[in-house]
């Protein structure tokens, strides 16, 4: 098995990052750095499997719904997605390793595997409004420095508002603004900014407790410039069984997964 880079997490581990944050906040911290540290501590989930339904509404108004199974391991370092619907992409898989620096796309129809280079991280993932970078957002304390902007209430949930600025090795955004619930420490909303201003907004909702872990079952990323949106609904998720490490190899992509 290839050596694992523990720097960051990859899709769908990243989903868990934004959905299942912060359960272990023992006490409220008032400065940004402490918040980031606690977020990172909270997101370390050993492994997960599940099914996600992704609905993409393009800026042209057309809608696509894709369903996929996902597996993650090594605290999110390894992730695999396998599309199950619609027929056009059924059987296609995306394997991510090394914080998205290595991405492989397997297309079942042509039985061909393509390796995407690191620059793909900043591009959108399979037509959605999430970039690979958003999905594999890495270690918050390594990727960002944070400034506490104050308190705010979002949908009746008291939150702290953090302005997170990427470090040199961090993501490509100019900064992000994160709203984190002060009681459950879960993020409710993230605004993404680039050099031209506000780019996207991620909204997390429908929080449920699954196998003892509270997480958002619904995420919606809206590209405020283009008017497109992507909604991801967690249809099922489990943290019990650890996937086989061999699942996360390029060679395994062309094999059927039961």
């Amino acid at each position: 098995m290839e050596k694992i880079n523990h720097k960051g997490r990859t899709f769908p581990w990243a989903l868990l990052l934004v959905m299942g944050l912060a359960a272990g906040f023992a006490f409220a911290q008032e400065d940004g750095a402490s918040w980031l540290k606690l977020i990172d501590e909270a997101e370390r989930i050993p492994h997960a499997t599940g099914i996600i339904e992704q609905t993409i509404t393009t800026s042209g108004g057309s809608e696509r719904t894709l369903t996929m199974r996902f597996w993650s391991a090594e605290e999110g370092e390894l992730s695999l997605m396998a599309y199950t619907a619609p027929a056009r992409v059924k059987g296609d898989k995306i394997l991510q390793r090394d914080d998205g620096d290595n991405i492989w796309y397997y297309m079942k129809r042509r039985d061909v595997t393509r390796h995407f280079v690191g620059t793909a991280r900043r591009q959108s993932a399979m037509g959605s409004d999430f970039s690979y970078e958003d999905l594999g957002s890495g270690d918050m304390t390594e990727d960002y420095t944070a400034e506490l902007l104050g308190d705010e209430t979002l949908d009746d949930v008291p939150c702290v508002k953090l302005k997170c600025t990427p470090t040199e090795s961090g993501p490509s955004y100019e900064h992000i603004i994160v709203w984190v619930g002060v009681e459950d420490y879960l993020p409710r909303k993230i605004d993404y900014y680039d050099d031209d201003g506000h780019l996207k907004t991620l909204t997390l909702s429908d929080f449920q407790t699954i196998e003892g872990r509270k997480l958002a079952m619904r995420m919606e990323m809206v590209n405020v410039r283009e008017g497109s949106r992507t909604q991801m609904v967690q249809q099922s998720i489990s943290f019990k069984d650890e996937p086989e490490p061999s699942l996360f190899t390029k060679e395994a992509l062309s094999r059927e997964i039961r």
């Binding site: 800026s59 108004g61 809608e63 056009r88 995407f116 620059t119 793909a120 959108s124 959605s128 008017g227």
Partner: protein
């Protein structure tokens, strides 16, 4: 009986008796003149003829029409690619010879592109293109293409989105190129030359082909202005149709059809013009039969209808003098006046017979008819006319003209009736008296001409029930009113203007088909800019907007100085490289290498199509699926599609001699093309082909036109608004068809609402004057209930609001009030008391208002049968509205009267 009528009535009656033939002759002359005018009326059936001209968007639209013209005639050829191109090649020169056409856009100006292609490439594509075409030999070309696709398009859809237009166009060219290669590799007889495959590869398809390559479009811009010279434009449509008809027999495998704003306008005019007359005649006959049955006479309906028809012709003549033509609303005027004007005749004739039966002489009977009933008819007509005239507050030309036409129409029709009807009745009585003398027998007037003076007791009974149970009736009415208010707020708006067009029009169906086949809307927004650089800047900004599918700009053909300075050294280097390059000899295993590159291309295209699928880039998906044979519906691949087929052919092995020739011709032609395309010379406006200049430069004066095409046909408010928001965020000066349509809807809604309130105010005032007090306002209650019921019924039958039926609300106020006025008037003059009073008044007045409601409903009912769905919805709404107002008068008013009058013993008569 002493004639105590008003002086004007006595004078008019005396004149009618003394000089009936003179009057009828004068009327005949006026009618002949007006008929002449009315026959010249233009039928302006497009919604663009009804726009509010003061609005900046409309002014911009009119400016574009005037200065640049509009590609308002589209010829669509359907068939196999080669058949369509053959027909287009024959048809285009013929069209270009037509004097009435300003521009014909069919084939791309390949000679221009051949010499100026690379200087016009966007910076982000420039380096890529030079890299892609570094090796112009056959295998090298496809290898370069694969390398480029893998660098740019197979990892994310972001770049696909950025280059969607270029990719779709180049893939159509690729398809053509592969087809020619396969035909040559397999040695098909009459295979097109390899040079043509190279042209297709480097320039794309020269004609505007649909994504499935089964439709080809030719755009024609008439010299005439579709707004101000509609006749001229329609003649141009006929000339274009004639050319298509002449060419078609030589191309039996191609189906040629026309669409575009001008063609749809012509079809609408033909459909509406004939159909309107047919329905007018049908309504006339229907009303005649209804009156004949009611009055039990064949003569009375004729007397009622003749002056009415005369009045309608006068109105149409006046409309010609005022507006010169009829728009979508005023075209319905004949039927509206037929339904409304017949009421005037019925009331007057009834009163005349009543007087004659009572033993009055003809002159006195006519004076009574005019002085008494005529006065109340005049009051009613004024109420209706004022309600219509309130629509003249509208800025929307269509609504304004309808208000003026209907308001004046009511008054003119009444004038025609006042002048003609007494003379007709006088002549008839004179002939009747002579007949009596000749037959030498006694006869009573009543036996010869007896109107049915009976009452409808069932209406009286319904009214009595309402009087006896006012709480129950008013509760039901209240519930229905509340439900209607809810319904009217939940009725959707129709923003798909093609859904308002006549059913079954081929041009409309084609208009809807084109965006589906081409993956882009066929009508555009526009912006007039001052310079080529501004045009370039705007285009780049607009291309980034999600709903913008394509931007046609003159900057596509003229590079900036800065870009040219930057490109020139690279281009010179590239030219030198191409010039010096020795083409490699075709080797025996090159067919396998070429097959491998095509296989790789297949992988790349399939991957791109999957990314494009997720991103909703339909144009790319469809062209790629055509190439690879993938069918999304069946999830199967058609292996006879060009890419699988050619790949298979090459893997199997091809004739080496033939392959060597193909490769040699390909390489040589590609070298020549690339060398020419890399010419770094500056391009000036004077170098541009005529069709490009005409498309972007004004006929006179300064300015450059930029055209912005939406990604798809937009028909819902949300997307229309989003498109507007996106394009106006780039420049607030951008206007477009989508904005015009939304504006038309919003304005009609706003102005209809304003006119309705104004009409209500005018009606309330007239009611208070007529009934000399606030009691007159009681007539508003059935009107309000009936109007709300109309809106509720519109929801119930699944209608949507559109700019045609939105003006039904102020109109129903003007028409529906009559029932309440007559009923209230009759009740107040009834001398009996209690339930007898309500029963007696309603059984008599009920019959009259039922008859007049029915005649009006026949008028609007015939509009409801129009093929034009927007206009039909107007007729349907008013048909229901008039019916609802009658029912509300009979059911609700008695209950209200009971509340108001129930305990009062004194009754003012």
């Amino acid at each position: 009986m002493k004639n105590t009528e008003k002086a004007w009535a006595r004078w008019l009656a005396a004149l009618a008796v003394a000089k009936p033939w003179w009057i009828l002759c004068v009327v005949a002359v006026i009618t002949a003149v007006m008929f002449g005018f009315s026959s010249k009326l233009e039928m302006r059936m497009n919604w663009t003829n009804m726009l509010p001209e003061k609005e900046p968007i409309v002014r911009s639209y009119l400016e574009v029409q005037e200065r640049f013209g509009e590609q308002s005639i589209i010829i669509a050829l359907e068939g196999e690619r080669d058949d369509m191109v053959a027909m287009a090649e024959e048809l285009t020169p013929r069209l270009k010879k037509l004097e009435s056409l300003d521009n014909v856009q069919a084939e791309l100006p390949l000679d221009f592109f051949r010499n100026h292609a690379f200087v016009n490439v966007k910076p982000d594509l420039f380096k890529r293109i030079l890299d892609t075409y570094e090796n112009p030999d056959l295998v090298g070309t496809f290898r370069g293409m694969n390398d480029d696709y893998e660098r740019e398009y197979t990892e994310s859809e972001s770049n696909l989105k950025r280059d969607e237009v270029e990719i779709a166009r180049s893939l159509l060219g690729l398809t053509r190129s592969l087809e020619i290669l396969e035909a040559n590799f397999t040695g098909q007889p009459q295979a097109p030359d390899i040079e043509e495959a190279v042209e297709a590869m480097t320039f794309g398809e020269s004609y505007l082909l649909s994504l499935d390559r089964r439709m080809l479009l030719i755009g024609c811009t008439p010299k005439g202005n579709i707004v101000s010279d509609i006749d001229e434009v329609l003649t141009t449509v006929e000339e274009v149709e004639e050319q298509v008809r002449l060419v078609a027999p030589a191309h039996p495998n191609v189906k040629a059809s026309l669409t575009g704003v001008a063609k749809i306008g012509l079809d609408e005019m033909e459909s509406i013009g004939f159909y309107t007359q047919l329905l007018f005649l049908a309504a006339l006959i229907f009303i005649y039969l209804l009156l004949m049955r009611t009055f039990r006479s064949w003569l009375i309906p004729i007397f009622a209808l003749i002056p009415l028809v005369i009045g309608i012709f006068w109105t149409l003549g006046v409309l010609y003098l005022l507006f010169g033509g009829l728009n979508m609303f005023t075209a319905m005027m004949m039927l509206v006046l037929l339904g409304l004007g017949i009421d005037f005749s019925i009331h007057l004739i009834s009163r005349f017979w009543e007087a004659i039966t009572a033993g009055e002489d003809v002159e006195t009977a006519l004076a009574i008819m005019l002085g008494r009933t005529g006065t109340s008819v005049l009051t009613g007509a004024l109420t209706t006319a004022f309600a219509f005239l309130t629509l003249m507050i509208a800025e929307t030309r269509g609504v304004y003209e309808f208000g003026a036409a209907a308001g004046l129409g009511v008054l003119i029709t009444l004038l025609a009736i006042f002048i003609t009807l007494p003379a007709l009745l006088a002549v008839q009585r004179r002939r009747f008296d002579k007949g009596l003398t000749r037959r030498g027998k006694e006869a009573t007037v009543a036996s010869e001409l007896s109107a049915d003076t009976g009452a409808y007791n069932w209406i009286g009974s319904v009214a009595r029930a309402g009087w006896n149970r006012p709480v129950l009736f008013l509760s039901i009415a209240g519930i229905l009113a509340v439900a209607s208010i809810w319904a009217m707020q939940h009725t959707a708006f129709e923003y798909d203007f093609l859904k308002l067009e006549p059913k079954g029009l081929k041009s409309v169906a084609l208009q809807r088909e084109i965006p589906k086949r081409f993956g882009i809307s066929d009508h555009s927004a526009w912006l007039i800019v001052n310079s080529i650089e501004e045009s370039r800047e705007m285009k780049e900004k607009l291309r980034k907007k999600g709903l913008v599918g394509e931007v046609a700009s003159i900057s596509d053909y003229i590079p900036s100085e800065a870009r040219l300075t930057e490109y020139t050294p690279e281009l010179e280097k590239f030219r030198e490289h191409i010039k010096r390059q020795e083409l490699p000899e075709w080797k025996p295993d090159d067919s396998q290498q070429l097959a491998a590159e095509l296989d790789r291309l297949w992988d790349n295209l399939d991957l791109m199509s999957n990314l494009a699928f997720a991103a909703g880039l339909d144009r790319i998906i469809r062209v790629i699926d055509e190439l690879t044979g993938y069918n999304m519906e069946t999830n199967a691949t058609d292996t006879t599609a060009i890419l699988p087929s050619l790949t298979r052919t090459l893997y199997r092995g091809v004739d080496e001699t033939r392959a060597r020739t193909i490769a040699a011709v390909w390489g040589q032609r590609m070298k020549t093309n690339l060398y020419d395309m890399a010419d770094p010379s500056q391009v000036y406006v004077s170098d541009l082909p005529a069709e490009i200049k005409r498309a972007h430069l004004p006929r006179e004066g300064e300015g450059i036109l930029l055209l912005i095409f939406p990604r798809k046909y937009l028909y819902d408010k949300k997307n229309l608004d989003r498109f507007t928001e996106q394009i106006t965020s780039v420049s607030p000066a951008i206007s477009g068809t989508e904005q015009l349509f939304v504006l038309m809807m919003d304005k009609t809604l706003e102005e209809g609402r304003r006119a309705a309130f104004l009409a209500l105010g005018v009606i309330a005032l007239l009611l208070m004057i007529h009934f000399r007090g606030l009691i007159g306002l009681l007539a508003l209650i059935p009107l309000g209930t009936g109007s709300l019921a109309m809106l509720g019924l519109m929801y119930l039958v699944g209608m949507k609001y559109n700019f045609n039926n939105l003006i039904a609300v102020p109109i129903i106020l003007g028409i529906g009030i009559d029932d309440g006025v007559h009923a209230l008037h009759r009740f107040r003059t009834e001398v009996s008391a209690g339930t007898k009073r309500i029963f007696d008044s309603f059984r008599f007045v009920g019959r009259a208002i039922l008859l007049t409601s029915l005649t009006t409903m026949i008028g609007f009912g015939s509009i409801a049968l129009y093929e034009h769905r927007g206009m039909a919805s107007f007729g349907q709404a008013l048909f229901m509205g008039v019916g609802a107002c009658f029912i509300a008068t009979v059911f609700v008013l008695p209950a209200v009267l009971r509340i108001v009058y129930g305990k009062r013993k004194d009754i003012k008569v």
